[in-house]
């Protein structure tokens, strides 16, 4: 303080000096500015959090972008093209013609590179089939033969020193005529080349032209298995398995082809396409009108026509049909511009022979003209469709969204292809113009609808809210709906508040109104100490100590919900037996101590009565009962109805019996106390009878609490979470509510008491209504804490993303999900951004709840200040 004095000391010389010292002025200015800037920047930073989170989330919903576009002319006619593609870095594009002609083009310059054609011996392919990945191709010919081949685009690193001499320039790239060399960082080049191979003829349909063909290659490198399906011009479908065995000694390959003729199609079916699954267990033959004949070929010798179904609406004819990766989805496009995705699903009521049906899962945005070209992605559920009017659309099947709508000027699309990394599209028009778009669509599977709505995933019976971000298999599609997580958060919050709000509020009222300031001075810090318990500790105790205990003594835990209030009430009626002067002298603190005793008695009753309670109400085993295996729902319905009935009956008895017995007006004393206790017991008995009758009636009607709020028991469940969360939430609600009650002006309390109201009447009719908004704010703040609580739910909730209100099952909350999955999420990936969206959701949820609480609280403050 001496410093202060020194400055403030009015020195005798001071009045003479009118000039403030420069250093003081400068210090003042500096402090002024730095405090202003510092203060404002903290506020900006704090709001920057929300902006930053939002900025990470936004790309999830932006669809696709075109980064660039290039066009060139292809040699020959576009009509003859059967296949085409781009390499991983879209340096080159290739096309394959019916006559075996292969065109390889440098995309940036459009220059054609030299590739020898496939040698068909002068024949022209009448049918073509290919796999989605791996570049396996197959051609069918008019003489009933089939030839397999492989087209692969290779990319190898070449050091600058090892470049061949005499390269020609292609802009930044160079070529030796056949391969392209692109410069990379660090004096290296990438050599992109096309490798083509063609196997010998396989004779399948003797003398008949093959008009439809599909081909898959599987098995191992040593024992490749090729599955292919052919349809000849007589309409006979055949499924063939070509197994190649390589003799380990002679290194000679021997191929054995076994062909099974499938049940014939109806005569005169105009076959358009045939498709086979990779395992060869499903064969689809499609006619021009869009009717699909699905064969169940799990046993190739005994193949059955499982299902016949028209996939198109009205008179439309089929334009293209094909699998998406994983072979669960079939994309069908029609001459009417329609684009639809079908799933093969096992359905209970299916009339097909194998129990599966083709179901229209996604009806996508149609084109205005016939869709003549379709290309699936090699890695996801994206695909390209292009129509005869020049419109090209990049879409995603599961999210049903159109990522990009493009236009090409080469006339009707004859060929479409999607680059392996889903970052370029090739479309060849009828006039031979090839267009390549370099695109970016990093998050095709997410839309607002896919994150917050139901989505129909492959293998699911219908649209559903699903969260499953990862799995062991490669063809797995992440399912990112936040709804189950939001549900989990709400479930944990609701059950936690069910438990915490009554305890916290009642305790706050008692502390503020019924105990002496001295007792309050010790009680309040003890309760507040709860708030400083780290939540990881609560979670640990809940999961490893509490959960096993609750599981073992579940019947006692449930019984405690009945015995604790009952023993407290019994305590109250015993207390009333005390002479009035004694009970007045003992007051709040002693009552609190006796409440501990009553609580202890209640716990003892619950512990010892547990097994009997279990036999009586839960057929001897709570877990089996909850599962629905044994017993009936009646006794439990009775338990639920009991408090309702008790409240109803006690109100009635107070109105009627109270007056009749004279309790309402009688002086407290032993006699009145006895009468009142008696009345209470009668009330309880009547309530029990009423509840029992009601429960029997409801059970007879067929109402059973099981399956909803109560169902299958798991160890880490919401009951445990709610209890543990109580530790986190109770002190918050308690403190704020107690403060609110306590800040009701003392003169109100005094006036009420002076008018002759009892403390109880004062508390319920004066204090509580006045402090109501503060109490409400307390509950809201507690709710905010419960919503965001992380470690307790991570540890004690089991983390299963299910959507049911069952109190005996676990949950997966938003916060827990972030904590568990974000450390493993790839930066800027879809999961990463979705988890940021989860964080943003939490942020917004708590911000709204807290702002509401804060506004209400401020109103309360203003009001209580006016009183």
């Amino acid at each position: 303080m001496t410093e202060t004095d020194a400055v403030l000391d009015p020195k005798p010389a001071a009045p003479l000096r009118r000039v403030t010292r420069r250093s003081v002025l400068i210090a003042d200015k500096v402090a002024d500015w730095s405090i202003r800037i510092g203060g404002l920047s903290v506020i900006v930073a704090v709001f920057g959090i929300m902006v930053f989170l939002a900025q990470v989330v936004v790309p999830l919903f932006t669809g696709g972008r075109v980064l660039g576009q290039q066009s060139f002319k292809i040699a020959g006619t576009a009509e003859a093209l059967v296949a085409g593609g781009l390499d991983e870095n879209h340096v080159v594009a290739y096309t394959i013609g019916r006559d075996g002609e292969i065109g390889l083009y440098h995309v940036a310059s459009g220059r054609r590179l030299v590739v020898p054609p496939l040698d068909f011996g002068g024949k022209r392919a009448t049918a073509f089939g290919r796999s989605i990945v791996g570049g396996e191709i197959a051609f069918g010919f008019a003489d009933g033969t089939v030839r397999f081949g492989k087209v692969t685009l290779t990319a190898d690193l070449v050091p600058a020193q090892a470049l061949p001499a005499g390269l020609q320039s292609l802009g930044t790239d160079r070529t030796d005529g056949a391969a392209v060399f692109s410069p990379l960082a660090g004096d290296q080049f990438r050599k992109t080349a096309l490798a083509v191979s063609l196997d010998a003829e396989q004779r399948v349909a003797e003398g008949r032209a093959i008009i439809a063909l599909d081909y898959r290659s599987g098995g191992t490198v040593e024992r490749p298995v090729r599955t292919f399906v052919t349809v000849d011009d007589a309409g006979v479908p055949r499924l063939s398995l070509a197994e190649t065995r390589i003799n380990m000694l002679t290194r000679q390959a021997r191929t054995a082809v076994s062909t099974a003729v499938l049940p014939p199609l109806p005569a005169g079916t105009p076959v358009a396409r045939a498709m086979v699954s990779e395992k060869g267990d499903q064969v689809y033959v499609v006619d021009r009108g869009g009717v699909v004949f699905r064969y169940d070929t799990r046993d190739a010798k005994d193949a059955k026509l499982a299902e016949t179904r028209d996939l198109l609406v009205g008179n439309a004819t089929i334009a293209t049909i094909g699998f998406l990766i994983g072979e669960q989805s079939i994309v069908v496009t029609g001459s009417d511009g329609s684009v639809a995705v079908y799933f093969r699903l096992a359905q209970a009521g299916a009339t097909t022979t194998d129990g599966f049906r083709l179901v229209l899962a996604h009806d996508l945005k149609p084109h205005t003209a016939p869709v003549d070209a379709f290309a699936p992605s090699e890695r996801g559920k994206m695909f390209v469709t292009a129509d005869t009017a020049g419109s090209v659309v990049l879409r995603h099947s599961t999210s049903e969204q159109v990522l990009l709508s493009l236009t090409q000027s080469g006339g009707a699309a004859k060929l479409a292809a999607l680059a392996p990394r889903e970052d370029a599209i090739l479309v060849v028009g009828a006039d031979g113009t090839a267009t390549v778009w370099h695109v970016s669509a990093p998050h095709p599977e997410t839309t607002w609808a896919s994150i917050f709505g139901k989505v129909w995933y492959e293998g699911y019976d219908g649209p559903a809210f699903t969260w499953q971000s990862s799995s062991g298999t490669d063809s797995f599609e992440p399912k990112l709906s936040l709804v189950p997580l939001i549900f989990g958060t709400l479930k944990a919050t609701v059950y936690a508040l069910f438990f915490a709000v009554p305890i916290a509020l009642l305790a706050a009222i008692y502390t503020s109104e019924f105990v002496s300031p001295k007792v309050r001075g010790t009680v309040k810090p003890v309760m507040e100490m709860m708030a400083s318990l780290p939540s990881v500790v609560l979670g640990f105790i809940a999961a490893l100590v509490l959960a096993p205990l609750v599981e073992t003594f579940i019947s006692s835990v449930l019984l405690a919900f009945v015995t604790l209030p009952l023993s407290l009430l019994a305590g109250a009626y015993l207390w009333q037996l005390l002479p009035r002067d004694l009970s007045l002298r003992l007051g709040g603190g002693v009552k609190l101590a006796l409440a501990f005793v009553a609580l202890f008695v209640g716990v003892l009753l619950a512990a010892y009565g547990g097994p009997a309670f279990e036999r009586l109400f839960f057929a001897g085993d709570v877990k089996a009962w909850a599962n629905g295996d044994i017993g009936s729902g009646g006794p439990f319905t009775f338990l639920l109805l009991l408090p309702v009935a008790y409240v109803a009956v006690s109100i009635l008895s107070e109105r009627m019996l109270g007056d009749w017995l004279g309790i309402e007006r009688a002086q407290p004393g032993v006699r009145t106390g006895l009468t009142d206790a008696l009345r209470w017991m009668v009330t309880l008995a009547v309530a029990a009878v009423a509840a029992a009758i009601l429960a029997t009636l409801l059970t007879a009607v067929g109402l059973d609490a099981r399956g909803g709020m109560v169902s299958t028991y798991v160890q880490r469940n919401t009951l445990v979470v709610g209890f543990a969360m109580g530790f986190a939430v109770i002190p918050i609600i308690y403190t704020i509510a107690e403060d609110a009650l306590n800040s009701v002006p003392e003169h109100l309390r005094g006036a009420s008491l002076a008018c002759g109201a009892t403390p109880w009447q004062t508390a319920t009719r004066v204090i509580l209504p006045t402090a109501m908004s503060g109490v409400f704010a307390a509950i809201m703040v507690g709710m905010g804490r419960a919503v965001g609580e992380t470690m307790i739910v991570v540890m004690a909730a089991g983390n299963t993303p299910i959507m049911e209100w069952n109190v005996f099952s676990g949950l997966r909350a938003l916060s827990a999900n972030i904590a568990v999955e974000l450390p493993e999420a790839v930066k800027d990936g879809t999961l990463y951004r979705t988890l940021f969206l989860a964080a943003l959701t939490l942020f917004v949820m708590t911000f709204v709840v807290n702002t509401l609480a804060e506004i209400v609280r401020q109103r309360f403050r203003k009001r209580s200040a006016q009183l």
Binding site: V7, L8, L25, D28, A31, D32, I35, R36, G38, G39, L40, V42, I43, A45, V46, I49, F52, L506, A507, M529, M530, S532, P534, V537, F540, I541, A543, L544, L568, G571, W575, L592, A595, F596, A598, L599, P611, A612, I663, E664, R665, P668, I730, Y734, S752, C755, T758, W760, V766, G788, M795, S815, A819, L822, K827, L835, F836, V849, N850, E854
Partner: protein, 574 residues
């Protein structure tokens, strides 16, 4: 308010109340009062019970327990520490295998029976650390005096007999004084080996790595073909060669010590007769559990606490100590306070002393209040996305290009954790400071200004000193909150096992980019991620006790400081 008053009026108008002079029973609301009191009692029971549970389990976890030799009805025997006894429900299949007497006993207990969990140790023999023994299957329980409890560096603890100790070729019994001395000697030798390996060799390695990185930096900034690079390479190679020689010398020394260590061995025999021989230095502690006196037990207990507080963890964190976690928690909390204090106080000063009190400031104040309620995990997400991945990645690009692609600051670490928690706790400090500033009487400010002091002088000499108790309280509460937070740290830099402390003897001594261990995360990790959560339980309870004690100590300090400063300023009112 009007509604309440009306109610009161109508109530006092009611004939019942005006006529009678006595209080009616119904007006006392006794049953309701009891429900209120019961709620309060329940709340207090919860907290007190919780603290007692942690205290009891935490304090007793390290106490040496006796070893029981349990013989089952079928003749098999196990030896182990009784860990806990509990009531359990006997399953139907289990019940069917029992004899009538046992079944009757279970029926008498309404389907329940008692069982004891024995910590049998010997994971290398049994593939499990624990074994339940239900009371109906136990035939006999003894406590032989020759059973030893042996804590080992690997494979957890051992329960059984110690057959012999081999000291430099000579076989001794375990109760030989020379054997005990040899054990102490072996432990000292192990300490020397470790300090060489982690201290001297670690430093040499760090210096080699630094040379390599410096060279790489030249390669990136100048290109590998430049003369500067050639020159730097010659220099670096020479230095690295020198360091390699140093390394070799140290490695030889370690090799020599290890060879010496091999000559001291101990043979352990488990209760079934299987034996195992290991180096004497692999034994941390051993005692004949049933033969040690109370005083020796206390000694073991204290030595275990000592180990817990100052040693590194071993056995996947389920044994050993938590020193790195204590250190990490302290370092992180301290850095957090250094970051949060100026910003929180400056913001509060701005809001209270500088900004114009209007609607805008009211909105800002509500927002700041609300930020205290934003879930901590959201701050963690922000910390990861902004600090580590955006800010940290840029720092790496600018200052540590030679270490890329392995990130330096571009991943979670001590600095980012502290900053994240600082952000999380800044609302706490702002609110507390604002309240403290508001409590300084306006008259004092006006007096100061009237005397000619400038605004900053007023704040510096009048307002801040008086608000200091409140500010300190806010800061310490922020520390307590920060020390207990785990969720955001899981995203921004906490690891289950950090090989190096954030502060060590290697330049630049304070390594802000390193990930660290934390007591709270230690609890989560050991309780949930270890191979056997039962084996880690004692450790978790002790850690929990420590963490709660730390937080309680911080809270208590806050109260003490507040009271002391209050007293200091109590007399100096205007």
């Amino acid at each position: 308010m009007s509604a309440t008053i009306e109610t009161l009026e109508t109530r006092s108008d009611a004939p019942t109340y005006t006529r009678s002079r006595i209080t009616a029973l119904g007006a006392l609301g006794e049953p309701f009062q009891w429900l209120l009191a019961g709620s309060l009692a329940l709340g207090m029971t919860m907290i007190v019970g919780f603290l007692l549970l942690v205290l009891w389990n935490g304090a007793s976890a390290l106490w040496p327990k006796p070893i029981h030799l349990v013989t089952f009805a079928d003749g098999t025997r196990i030896a182990g520490e009784p860990t806990r006894t509990e009531e359990f429900r006997v399953g139907a299949e289990r019940l069917a295998t029992l004899d009538e007497a046992a079944r009757q006993r279970i029926r008498d207990l309404s389907g329940y029976a008692w069982r004891t969990l024995y910590r049998t140790g010997n994971f290398d023999f049994y593939n499990d650390d624990f074994r339940w023994a239900a009371d109906f299957e136990v035939r006999q329980v003894e406590a032989p005096a020759d059973l030893y409890f042996v804590e080992r560096l690997e494979w957890g603890s051992f329960v059984g007999r110690i057959a012999s100790v081999e000291v430099a070729g000579e076989r001794l019994a375990i109760d030989d004084a020379r054997a005990v001395a040899a054990h102490r000697e072996a432990q000292r030798r192990l300490g020397a080996i470790r300090s060489l390996e982690h201290g001297a060799i670690g430093q040499v390695n760090a210096r080699i790595e630094r040379e390599r990185l410096a060279l790489r930096r030249v390669a990136i900034t100048q290109s590998e073909a430049s003369p500067e690079y050639a020159e730097a390479k010659v220099r670096a190679d020479a230095r690295i060669a020198g360091l390699r020689a140093e390394y070799q010398r140290l490695a030889d020394e370690v090799q020599r010590l290890k060879a010496e260590d091999q000559r001291y061995r101990v043979t352990l025999v488990e209760i079934g007769g299987k034996d195992k021989t290991l180096r004497l230095s692999e034994i941390v502690r051993f005692y004949p559990a049933n033969a040690v006196g109370w005083f020796d037990r206390l000694g073991i207990y204290l030595s275990r606490w000592g180990e817990f507080l100052v040693d590194s963890p071993r056995e996947a964190n389920t044994e050993g100590g938590v020193w790195p976690a204590i250190f990490g928690t302290f370092a992180m909390t301290l850095l957090m306070v250094i970051a949060v204090a100026p910003f929180g106080v400056v913001t509060a000063l701005y809001l209270r002393e500088y900004a114009k009190q209007g609607r805008m400031v009211a909105i800002v104040r509500i927002s700041v209040n609300n930020l205290a309620g934003v879930p901590s995990i959201v701050y963690g997400v922000f910390g990861l996305g902004f600090f580590a991945y955006t800010l940290g990645a840029s720092i790496d690009q600018l200052f540590f290009p030679e270490r890329l692609p392995s990130p330096t600051f571009g991943t979670g670490g001590l600095l980012w954790s502290s900053l994240t928690l600082a952000l999380l706790t800044v609302p706490v400090v702002i609110v507390a400071t604002e309240e403290a500033l508001a409590a300084v009487p306006r008259s004092m400010r006006e007096g100061s200004l009237a005397c000619g002091a400038s605004k900053w002088q007023t704040i510096k000499y009048i307002v801040l000193p008086r608000a200091l108790p409140g500010i300190m309280t806010g800061l310490i509460l922020a520390m307590a909150r920060g020390a207990g937070e785990v969720a955001p740290l899981m995203l921004v830099g906490v690891v289950k096992l950090a090989p190096e402390l954030p502060i060590d003897g290697v330049f630049p001594y304070l390594h802000l980019e390193r990930s660290f261990m934390h007591l709270g995360f230690h609890i989560y990790d050991v309780g949930f991620q270890s191979r056997n959560s039962e084996a880690g339980k004692p450790m978790v309870f002790v850690t929990t006790l420590l963490l709660i004690a730390m937080i309680a100590a911080m809270n208590a300090t806050a109260i003490v400081i507040r009271n002391r400063l209050k007293r200091r300023f109590a007399g100096s009112q205007f």
